[in-house]
Amino acid sequence: MVGLHTWAGVCVGTLLFVIFWMGSLSVFDREIDRWMMPATRLPAPSGPPSLDATVLPVAARLAGGASPWTIVLPSARVPAIELRYTDAQGEPVRRHIDPASGALLPEAGSLGASGFFFPFHFRLHLRFADIGYWLVGVAGMAMLVLLVSGVIVHRRIFSDFFTFRPRRALPRATLDVHNLSGVLALPFHFVITLSGLIIFFAIYFPSAYQMAYAGAAVAPRAAFDRDAFGTWQRPASGQPGQLASLDAMLATARDTWQGREAYFVRVWHPGDAAAYVELRRSVAEGIPMNVDRLVFDGASGRLLHRHKAQPVMAVQRFIAGLHFIQFRHGLLRALYFVAGLAGCVMIASGLLFWLAARRRRAGGVGMRLVDALTVGGTTGTILATLAFLIANRVLPGDGAARAALEMQVFFAVWVLGFCHAGLRPEGAWRVQSRAIGVAAAVAVVLNALTTGMHPLAAMAGGQWAVAGVDGVLLLTAALAWGVARRGGRQPASAASAVAGADHG
């Protein structure tokens, strides 16, 4: 069991850290988006905007006949209307519209947290053959194994339930951190990992729907999506047509859903006589991410189709909602963030302990590889994230090219982090911790210089998202310096503590 826990941890630890880190950031993705897209730092919307007056003219001009285009309505977390479509080159485009004036905001030139950190969390930006999903799936299964085996291996965690001795020798203190973060957030880590796997049941366990829908008239996946998610389709007619009032459809939806609002409007085949409009109900009200959908005829505004989750799907949507945390609850959001970071701490401290316990026994290439992977994958990932934020504030240009450059900065710094750790393993993570401290502070300063919104101004202006991101960055800076300093001290009794701690 010790071997299982150790080797599963060493093999997927780095990957798990990256997944937990990106997931924790995704908890506040919309808030980080405001930080990264200063044009969208608008006052909170006062009421539902008129889509016919604000969005339709812009969408007709920008998206034209591209099918479909999508509107995400403004919310407490996103004050701007979001318009998504694919351009003539087939590239996805995301633009923002001021709901008060209907003005098209300048291009963000950034994917933001929702476009970069969030997909990173579940598919690692590896689209080829779904390999990203599968790697995350394997890591998720390994995490469940690690959690269960960890409770057995660290058999004293319940008698040492509240034990944290930061002043003891480093390996002992590291193990305390590992056990403490592991056991105290264990319910969260277990539920979040299991729910993450259940979200992608159709990828990880495709035989279920393939067998159930083997006899369907259309492809199994299409038939399954129709039943599970209420996907409704019809082909374009080729005849030109006019779009009826979207505001009237929103009003009908409000009546149909007993006063609850739509958050998402998608227009299929715009400009065609067979155009149709899909409305999705807001998921901000409760834990389950409902799949309530309405489909309207584009020309007449008549209701064509209505979908609501069936019992089994409703359970899946509840579990998905637990994980996606799209509901309105600031305190839970903050606790999810902290618990996610506790997962990062657990994984990183586990890896550090493994390295510290072995460094004195044997060197070798394997050891060095794990060393580089661990340091590059933990402190290197954090450093690359901060470089991404810094690049967001200093890169020139606009549009998709700038967004791509921002991503390349992330990956370049990440590779550098791995190389640095591989070439200079001695104290590499301490150097990178110090770099994190500097980079986090630089990001805050750059935000103040380039947007004029320093943390105090953000608070005064009610821009809590910006103030929050700045605050967490400053905290990161302080913490990184503290950790680097603490790691610098090497108590004389370290070696004996390792021997004693091995069986902790």
Binding site: F161, F162, P166, L180, P187, F188, H329, L331, L332
Partner: protein, 107 residues
Amino acid sequence: MAEALLLAACLAGYAGFGLLAVSMARHWRELAGDAALPPARCRALRRVGALAIAGSFALVLWRDGGGFGSLLGILLLSACATAVAFTLSARPRWLTGFAERLAERSR
């Protein structure tokens, strides 16, 4: 009202885990040294601690309902337990006085 319930839940959770921690052999030794904790008092500590934790969870359920409440309860209790662990490592003196009062005065 919501804030008051939340504060009460935090305090109950912190107190509950604090009582459990004091009743545990390892932490008792750290706090009270060689002084013994009478078994009856140990059981009482655990019982009151568990009750306080259950009370904290109930308060959160009352505040936020079954769905959000149960999620918040689990996460909040994790946070309370963490706070107790940090208290024991950084400010054990906050608890030593309490432990000394519970200890059996054999000497």
